[in-house]
């Protein structure tokens, strides 16, 4: 994802006015007689080799992509043609029975809901940490803090999964009980005991997992906020927070959106951590705290080994849906960023 160049192309340094009138005049006129043939530029073997290499690898990449796409589509179509249920609405995944009955409703719900919870929890915290590092913390503290956050990104997801299952799940029951007491009436936050292996727990775990990437991208964007606009705000008598509100956040908005989308991309596709923590079921519960549910990636990981031919094809079909979902998320992010273009 080219999140960084979105950040860079964002607002700011449009040089005001005529930069320097004699800039063009200062450039030396092309010396006469160095190149005699006008249209033909010099080509050396190195150029030819490099051109061949880069063109070749470009083509190779496209061929590989096309091959993957064809393979996946063929297998998925095969599965869909056998499906006795409705692929979009069926609350069941029995792809290895004869006839096979499977649908992605529960998986789509679980994937989207757990990822949204993760975003809601992670993005505000990440933006807060990023601002603290870029604009509040003294340099002595900012550097180690950034380092620790970046380090979090290097923890393998299975480790998060183990931590989630062994620490988070046993400790969240109490919190969920409290939610149930005060917000149980909403239905969404009702909790009927049992292990906290629910979509909400997954959301919390995913939030922790995407926190580093969202934080570090946001931090870099905030760091690049132009000094001249921060000084403009300061000179008007802005406090530190007001400087951030006037000159840093507006500048960083598109960067934070792309950072969040990076995080969302990871959350949507996260496999091992979810598979380790969730107790899957093919029901959609109105309560996010009760155990059950599933996600695309978790379902693939959990059922792939025991699947027969059709079962595997069905999983591939669900994987394609996840792929489309990720594409849509990216498209939406781009649209949000583009809409603000006039002012940046």
């Amino acid at each position: 994802m080219n999140d960084m160049d979105i950040a860079n192309s964002a607002p700011a340094d449009r040089p005001p006015g005529p930069a320097s009138p004699d800039l063009t005049a200062a450039q030396p006129a092309p010396a006469q007689g160095i190149r005699t043939r006008k249209s033909k530029t010099t080509v050396r073997p190195g150029d030819r080799i490099f051109l061949g290499l880069s063109r070749g690898s470009g083509i190779l990449l496209l061929v590989i992509m096309a091959a993957i796409a064809v393979f996946l589509t063929v297998r998925a179509t095969h599965a869909l043609s056998q499906d006795e249920g409705n692929f979009l609405t069926t609350f069941e995944w029995s792809a290895n029975t004869d006839p096979p009955v499977f649908g992605i409703a529960v998986l789509a719900f679980g994937t989207v809901v757990s990822s949204l919870i993760a975003m809601l929890l992670a993005v505000p915290v990440a933006v807060g940490i990023a601002l603290f590092i870029s604009h509040y913390a003294p340099r002595r503290l900012a550097a180690p803090l950034s380092y620790v956050i970046d380090l979090l990104a290097a923890v393998p997801s299975i480790v998060y999964g183990l931590w989630g299952a062994l620490f988070l799940v046993p400790h969240l029951g109490g919190l969920y009980g409290w939610f149930d007491t005060y917000f149980g009436w909403t239905g969404v936050l009702a909790y009927h005991d049992g292990a906290a292996r629910s979509l909400f727990t997954i959301g919390i775990l995913l939030a922790i997992m995407i926190l580093p990437i969202v934080t570090s991208v946001s931090r870099e964007v905030f760091r690049q906020a132009p000094k001249m606009h921060e000084e403009a705000a300061l000179a008007l008598g802005a406090t530190r927070w007001e400087v951030i509100r006037m000159a840093v956040l507006p500048f960083g908005r598109s960067g934070v959106i792309s950072a969040s989308m990076l995080g969302l991309g990871r959350a949507l596709g996260e496999t091992m951590a979810v598979a380790t923590v969730l107790s899957p079921s093919f029901l959609i519960s109105t309560s996010l705290l009760d155990p059950g549910g599933g996600t695309f990636a978790q379902n693939i990981a959990s059922s792939f080994k025991e699947s027969g031919e059709t079962g595997k094809d069905a999983l591939i079909a669900s994987g394609l849906v996840l792929f489309v979902l990720t594409l849509l998320v990216n498209g939406a992010a781009r649209m949000i960023i583009a809409r603000r273009k006039e002012f940046s």
């Binding site: 040089p15 005001p16 000084e231």
Partner: protein, 259 residues
């Protein structure tokens, strides 16, 4: 509305490096004072000590006293934020907020200072400030368009409108025309002549003619050599500085015999 500035024994540092040394001067209310001098002699640094912007730079430190009428800007318990609300600043490069409309740019300072304010009242202040910056006629039909879409000269006048909207006592300008074409420069010079009726104005300029045209008083700064702190050589009526300065170095600089 306009206050007298009285600086005594002021030095400013970047970390261990002393950028200006022991400067004392008085700036009269409702006058224009120009700072001239070679690059690196500390004009910008000194200007930024007058609204406590210098200390925003990492390692920035100030010794000495700056009195605004009878309040010491560097007194203990003085909030730098409130100092900057009283002493406005216009920068070398026009810097309207790129994500804000023309209207929002002018209103930005008031929103900070006043908190809540009625829309009709705010409209009035925005119009008055844009008129005060001689920009109203050019932008009144597109107040909701981005400020960054204006020409360089218009952007700089927008920044002036933004600065005067909060009714400061003093207006500091750091080479406000150096990024502008001659026509825009003239527009801003005219504007400075009008603004001095209401504000105490201090302007740094590289352009000797500009200093002669717009200012009542001129201060010449110089430095003994690379790495040395800048010093105030003399401050006097502009006419005198440009016709018959009391220090030889000033005359050399003004007549271009500066080496």
């Amino acid at each position: 509305m306009a206050k007298r500035i009285d600086v005594s024994g002021l030095s400013a540092f970047y970390g261990a490096h002393k950028a200006i040394d022991d400067i004392s001067m008085t700036v009269e209310p409702r006058s224009v004072t120009a700072f001239i001098g070679p690059s690196g002699c500390g004009k910008s640094t000194f200007l930024r000590t007058l609204n406590r912007m210098h200390e925003v730079t990492p390692g920035g430190r100030v010794e000495g006293k700056v009195m605004l009428d009878d309040e010491n800007l560097y007194g203990s318990g003085v909030d730098p934020v409130s100092v900057r609300r009283t002493v406005g600043m216009v920068f070398q490069r026009p810097n309207p907020f790129p994500t804000m409309s023309i209207y929002e740019n002018v209103a930005a300072g008031i929103r900070l200072n006043g908190g809540r304010i009625r829309k009709s009242e705010l409209d009035g202040v925005v119009e008055k400030s844009l008129k005060g910056a001689n920009l109203w006629k050019e932008v009144k039909d597109r107040l909701d368009k981005p400020g960054a879409g204006l020409s360089g000269g218009q952007q700089q006048r927008l920044c002036i409108a933004r600065a005067i909207a909060v009714e400061p006592q003093v207006l500091l300008m750091d080479e406000p025309c150096s990024a502008l074409d001659p026509i825009s420069t003239l527009a801003i010079e005219d504007l400075i002549g009008e603004l001095k009726e209401r504000f105490t104005i201090v302007i740094v300029t590289h352009n000797m003619q500009q200093a002669a045209r717009v200012s009542d008083r001129t201060a010449f700064f110089n430095l003994a050599g690379v790495g040395q702190p800048g010093k105030l050589v003399e401050i006097d009526d502009t006419e005198r500085i440009f016709s018959n300065p009391s220090v030889q170095a000033t005359e050399d600089y003004i007549s271009g015999r500066f080496g």
